[in-house]
C-alpha cells in the first residue's frame, strides 16, 4: 500500500486523525499506569470514561445548557456581525465611525467583562450568552466587510454599465462573493462563541460545562472535570464540523 496515495485518499483523512486520537489515549493510559500518577492529578482515560458513565445525566444537562447558550450568543453574533459588516463595507460613514470603535473594542480581553456582566445580569446564562456574542461577532463583521471590499471593480463595472441598481449589484455579485468570507468566519466565530460561554460559565454562572468543571475541581473530583473537558472537546468538534459541512454544500463553487 502506497502511503502517499493513502494520505490523499478519502479514507486516509478519516482513519489517520482517528488513529492519532487512539494512540494519544493509549500512551496516556500507559503513562498513568507506569508512573503511578494519582487520579486527582491526572486521571487515566479509562477513569475518565468511568466518570462519564457515572455522571452522564449531569454531563448531558450541562452540555446541553452550554450548547444552547453558545448557539443563542452565536446567532446574535451572526445577525450583528452581518449587519455591521455590510454597513462598514457599503457605507463610508459607517466605516469611518464604526471601524475604529470596533477594533478598539476588540482589543479588550472579553474575560475581563464577565464579572461586570454578572453584576448587571446575575450569575445565570445571560452573561454567558453575551460573552459568546461579544467574542464571536467581530470576526464575522470583519470578514463580511472584507468580502464586499474584494469584489473585482471590473465585475461591478460590467453590471453598472448595464444599468444595474446598487441592489442588483449586491444580489448578483456582492452577496455571493461575500459568502465564502462569511463561512470562513463562521467556523472561527463558532469556536469563539463556545470559548466565550464556557469562560463565562466558569467565572459566574449557575450551570453549564464551565460551571461543572469549576465545581468538580473544587471538590477534587478531577475525573469528572476531565469528563466534562472531553465533552467540551466533542461539542467543539461538532460545532466546527457542522459549519465546515454546511460550507461545503453552500459554497461548493469556491475551491
Amino acid at each position: 500500500m502506497n502511503i502517499q496515495k493513502f494520505m490523499r485518499s478519502k479514507a486516509g483523512t478519516f482513519v489517520l486523525p482517528f488513529a492519532a486520537t487512539v494512540m494519544l489515549f493509549v500512551v496516556w493510559e500507559l503513562a498513568v499506569l507506569i508512573f503511578k500518577i494519582p487520579p486527582f492529578t491526572l486521571p487515566s482515560p479509562s477513569k475518565i470514561v468511568q466518570a462519564s458513565i457515572q455522571f452522564t445525566p449531569q454531563l448531558l444537562a450541562a452540555g446541553w445548557r452550554t450548547l444552547v447558550t453558545t448557539l443563542v450568543g452565536f446567532a446574535l453574533a451572526i445577525a450583528t456581525g452581518v449587519v455591521l459588516g455590510f454597513s462598514i463595507g457599503y457605507s463610508r460613514l459607517a466605516y469611518l465611525t464604526l471601524y475604529p470603535l470596533l477594533v478598539g473594542f476588540n482589543t479588550i480581553p472579553k474575560v475581563a467583562l464577565v464579572p461586570l456582566l454578572a453584576v448587571w445580569f446575575g450569575a445565570n446564562e445571560i452573561p454567558a450568552i453575551l460573552t459568546a456574542f461579544l467574542l464571536a461577532f467581530f470576526p464575522i463583521a470583519v470578514n463580511v466587510a472584507l468580502g464586499l471590499d474584494t469584489v473585482e471593480p471590473e465585475m461591478k463595472d460590467v453590471l453598472r454599465a448595464l444599468g444595474a441598481t446598487q441592489v442588483e449589484v449586491f444580489q448578483k455579485v456582492g452577496w455571493p462573493h461575500t459568502l465564502p468570507y462569511l463561512f470562513a468566519s463562521l467556523k472561527i466565530a463558532a469556536s469563539f462563541a463556545f470559548v466565550g460561554s464556557v469562560i463565562s460559565e466558569s467565572v459566574a454562572s449557575n450551570g453549564g460545562m464551565g460551571y461543572l468543571i469549576v465545581q468538580a475541581s473544587s471538590s477534587f473530583d478531577v475525573p469528572l472535570a476531565f469528563a466534562a473537558l472531553l465533552g467540551l472537546g466533542i461539542l467543539g468538534i461538532m460545532l466546527y464540523g457542522f459549519f465546515a459541512v454546511l460550507e461545503k454544500y453552500v459554497i461548493y463553487w469556491a475551491r
Binding site: 471590473e154 463595472d157 460590467v158 453590471l159 453598472r160 454599465a161 448595464l162 444599468g163 448578483k172 455571493p176
Partner: protein, 276 residues
C-alpha cells in the same frame, strides 16, 4: 437595430451615409495630481456611425481606458461631451456590453448562466426572464456555439482555460444585443496563437449583432484585423494624431494578414505611433 448580413458587399458601414451613433465633441480629461490638475486627454473629436467597429491604439497611460469609461457613462466626460444619438452621456448607458482583459466571470455560475447574466439585469429581457427562459437559453447556446464552447455550458469558470473564459466573457457582453460593445484589451493576457483565434471569433460574434464596437488594444495587427477605423492617440496629454480607415472586406481571415494592403495599413499605424 439589426442590419441584414450582406457579407459579400464591402461591409464598411461607415461608408454609408447615416447619422453617427456616438459623437465626441471636444472631449478632454484631467485628474488631480500633486495639488493641481494634470491633463490626460487634450481634445478628442470624432464620430462613430452605427455598426462601425473602431479601435484606439496609443502609448500606455494616454487615456484609452478612460475613453471607454466615458463612453459607457461609468465616468462621464468631465470636459466637452460625448453624445449617444445626440444626447449627452451623463450616467451609465444601458445598451452597452463590456469585456475587459480580466474576463471576470462569476465563479458560482456555470458558463451558460454567466452568459445569461445581462438578461437578468437589462430591460426588456429582465421583465420576461422567467417566461422566456427557454428562448434565452437558446440565444446563449447559439453564442456559445459560435465560439465553440457548446460542450462547456455546464462547466464552472475555473474549469475553463483563459481563452475559453474570455470567449464566454465576449458572449456575455453581446447576449443582450447591445448597441455599443466596449472592449478593453480583451486578449491582452492570451498567447499569440489563442489571440489570433479570438479575432476570428470576435468578428463572427460581432457580425451577428452588428453593433458599434470600440476596441482598445496595443496589438496593431489586431486593430487592423478587426476595425473599420483605427484611431491613433498620442502621448499624454493626448489627441488623436492619426486616423486610418480599413477597407478590407469582411469576414476577414488570417490569410489577409499576409496581403500587401494589410501590411501597408499596419505600417502606416506603426509609423504614427513611433513618430510621437
Amino acid at each position: 437595430m439589426h442590419q441584414p448580413l450582406t457579407q459579400s458587399t464591402p461591409a464598411n458601414l461607415s461608408d454609408i451615409d447615416q447619422p453617427p451613433l456616438l459623437e465626441f465633441d471636444h472631449v478632454g480629461l484631467e485628474y488631480p495630481f500633486e495639488g493641481s490638475m494634470r491633463r490626460i486627454i487634450e481634445d478628442v473629436n470624432l464620430s462613430i456611425k452605427p455598426g462601425e467597429f473602431v479601435s484606439f491604439v496609443g502609448p500606455s497611460g494616454c487615456g484609452k481606458t478612460s475613453i471607454l469609461k466615458m463612453v459607457s457613462g461609468l465616468n462621464p466626460a468631465p470636459i466637452g461631451e460625448i453624445r449617444c444619438r445626440g444626447e449627452k452621456i451623463k450616467k451609465p448607458l444601458k445598451n452597452v456590453g463590456i469585456a475587459f482583459q480580466n474576463p471576470v466571470l462569476l465563479p458560482w455560475r456555470t458558463t451558460i448562466d454567466n452568459v445569461l447574466l445581462p438578461l437578468e439585469v437589462v430591460q426588456p429581457y429582465k421583465g420576461e426572464f422567467k417566461q422566456k427562459k427557454a428562448q434565452f437559453l437558446d440565444m446563449a447556446q447559439e453564442l456559445l456555439t459560435t465560439v465553440r464552447l457548446q460542450d462547456f455550458q455546464k462547466q464552472y469558470p475555473w474549469q475553463l482555460s483563459g481563452g475559453m473564459r474570455q470567449r464566454a466573457s465576449l458572449c456575455r457582453s453581446l447576449i443582450h444585443q447591445p448597441e455599443i460593445l466596449l472592449l478593453d484589451e480583451p486578449f491582452g493576457a492570451l498567447d499569440a496563437f489563442t489571440r489570433e483565434e479570438m479575432w476570428g471569433m470576435l468578428q463572427k460574434l460581432w457580425m451577428k449583432v452588428r453593433c458599434v464596437g470600440i476596441l482598445i488594444t496595443h496589438d496593431l495587427r489586431e486593430a487592423v484585423f478587426l476595425s473599420d477605423t483605427v484611431y491613433v492617440m498620442g502621448p499624454r496629454p493626448s489627441n488623436i494624431v492619426h486616423t486610418v480607415k480599413i477597407n478590407l472586406p469582411r469576414p476577414r481571415n488570417l490569410e489577409m494578414e499576409l496581403s500587401d494592403e494589410f501590411n501597408h495599413l499596419f505600417s502606416e499605424i506603426r509609423r504614427h505611433i513611433h513618430h510621437n
